[in-house]
Every structure is written in structure tokens, then in C-alpha cells.
Amino acid sequence: MLKGHLDMIVLAALEGGPAHGYAVIEVIRKRSGGAFDLPEGTVYPVLHRLEEMQLLSSLWATSENGRRRRVYALTARGKKALAGQRALWRRFSDAVGALLGGPRHATG
């Protein structure tokens, strides 16, 4: 199930600002409370695919310890895609919640 939503999850992880692959994984792990503990390598094909779809941009930067790293950032198109996916997910989540009799998602 998680695999089908990886694009949205990675876009959401980059919403806070540009980050490299390792930081993206850390954000996903922390914000999901450890629930999404993916094999770390799975994030790179997603980052590359989203960049090819022009939802992300990337550039090489030099870290504090002198290592070169690829830093990814949301593009305007990526922000729009994330907003669309978020709205869709909320509708889906509310509908499934209502169907299963669970608590409704706050849309506030």
C-alpha cells in the first residue's frame, strides 16, 4: 500500500525545504513516527522519477564535511501536484473512515 503513495510521501517530505536523499528518508521516518521505515534505497528511484516529471529540481551541493551531494527541491509544479494529491487523499481518507465507522479526518 505504501508503495503506491511513495510519490506523495516524498513530495510531502520536501515541503519543508530542499533536502538530499538521506534527509528525505529521515523526515519520512520521523514524521510517520517510525511507521514508514522503508529500505532507504527505494527513495532514489522516486526522487529521479519526480525530477523527470518536473515536480522536483535538483543540484549538486557541497556538505559541511566536503562531500558532494544532490539536493532536491519542490518545483512550483511539484507544490501544485502535492496540493492536489493531499486534497484527494483527504477525500479518500474521509470516505474510508466513514465506511469503516472510524473517526473522520479533521479537514479544518
Binding site: H20, Y22, P39, P45
Partner: protein, 233 residues
């Protein structure tokens, strides 16, 4: 036995598995190595590097996820290359004919040569039409047959694409051979002059572009075969 550098070992395996796209391989390996070194630095203990590698996942599975989009890009490139070579061949043929016409360069009426010329022109036309039509079909197929992952379906689609390319390439090769014969017939009947240089140069461009295209097609076919190589046990 403990590996000397599990991260370097992992990156080497990943690089080998990404050999279907050398520029992608360089970029991904640089990113992955940075990731693993940082993960190992954040870890604790003597096995931090091995643990970082274990958390990263199988290099074979990761390479496979990169393969489908990369092969789609490369096959589209082959399709565009084919159309470009066909177009350049047409321009080279049209350029030679325009040159002959501008110089009022007529050929002799030697009966056997005229018959050979007529047959060669026919072969040239049909072979060029085959290359142009099948070349356009192969480009359209490359767009239509995009796959999100490597599987039996994408394998058979790629096989069909390369079959179309091989057919179009055959048409191109016959066209080039016919053009060589036609140009030789034209030049053989006249004294060597500077005017011969332009048709020869256009013919050389046609031959070179076809040769470059065939080399590129073979390279992409080899890369595709390597992407479908089975995982080691």
C-alpha cells in the same frame, strides 16, 4: 570475514547493475555513496557501515527500479535517431539530385548501365520508403510502449521495438548501398572535377550517419540485454 569497506563494495555492485545507463550510474552511485557514508557516520559501533548498507536495500532491486524509465528514454532516443537519419539521407539524396540538375550533369545512354541505374533507383525508392515508414512506426511504438517496470511485457515490447528498428535499418542500409551505386555510375561517366566533391561529401555524410546510428542501436540493445540479466542468487 569482515569486508574492508562494505560501502565501496555496495556502490561497486550498484554501479555494475546500472551499467545499462553509465551517466545515470555515475550520478546515482555518487548520491548513494554520500547517503551511506552519512548513515554510517550517524550510526554507532564497528558495524555502522554494514548496517547502513543493510538498511539501504538490495542493489539489484534498486537498479531494476531505474531500468524501465532509463530504457524508455534510450529507446525513444533510438526512435528519434532513426527518423533523423532517414531525414538526413533524404536531404543528401535531394541535394545530390539538385546539384546534378544545377550543373546540367547528364549521364550517358549506355544501355546496360541505364538498365542497372533504373533497377537501382527502384530499389533505392522502395528501401527508402521502408526505412521511412518503419522508422516512424518505431518512434511511435517507443512512445506507446512505455513501461513503468521491467517485466515480461516490457521485454516483449522492447523486442518488438528492436525488430522494427532492425527492419528500418535494413532499409537504410539498402538505400545507402543503392546511393553508392548511383553516385558511382554518375561519377564514372565523367572526368574527375571539383564538381564531384559535393555529391561525394553528401554520400559520405549519409554513410557516416547510418554507421553512427547502427553503432548506437547496437549499444542500446546491449544495454537493454544487461538490464534484463537475472539477479545473482
Amino acid at each position: 570475514m569482515q569486508q574492508a569497506d562494505p560501502i565501496a563494495e555496495y556502490v561497486a555492485v550498484l554501479s555494475r547493475e546500472l551499467r545499462f545507463d553509465p551517466s545515470l550510474s555515475r550520478r546515482v552511485c555518487a548520491e548513494v555513496e554520500d547517503h551511506l557514508r552519512e548513515a554510517a557516520a550517524d550510526g554507532a559501533g564497528a558495524d555502522a557501515e554494514s548496517e547502513a548498507v543493510a538498511r539501504f536495500g538490495s542493489p539489484y532491486a534498486i537498479a531494476r527500479q531505474f531500468a524501465a524509465p532509463s530504457l524508455t528514454r534510450q529507446t525513444k532516443g533510438v526512435g528519434y535517431g532513426m527518423v533523423l537519419v532517414v531525414l538526413c539521407s533524404y536531404l543528401a539524396m535531394a541535394g545530390r539530385l539538385a546539384w546534378y540538375s544545377a550543373l546540367d550533369w547528364r549521364i550517358g545512354n549506355d544501355a546496360p548501365l541505364t538498365a542497372l541505374r533504373t533497377v537501382t533507383i527502384l530499389i533505392d525508392r522502395y528501401a527508402f520508403a521502408l526505412a521511412a515508414i518503419v522508422g516512424l512506426c518505431s518512434l511511435a511504438y517507443a512512445w506507446r510502449a512505455r513501461s513503468a517496470e521491467l517485466n515480461a511485457t516490457s521485454r516483449s515490447r522492447l523486442r518488438r521495438f528492436f525488430l522494427l528498428c532492425a527492419l528500418a535499418t535494413l532499409g537504410l542500409l539498402v538505400t545507402v548501398a543503392a546511393d553508392i551505386v548511383l553516385t558511382a555510375l554518375r561519377l564514372a561517366g565523367s572526368a574527375p572535377s571539383l564538381a564531384s566533391l559535393l555529391p561525394l561529401a553528401l554520400l559520405a555524410v549519409e554513410i557516416a550517419l547510418t554507421a553512427i546510428f547502427i553503432a548506437h542501436l547496437r549499444l542500446v540493445m546491449r544495454r537493454t540485454a544487461s538490464a534484463f540479466a537475472p539477479f545473482p542468487e
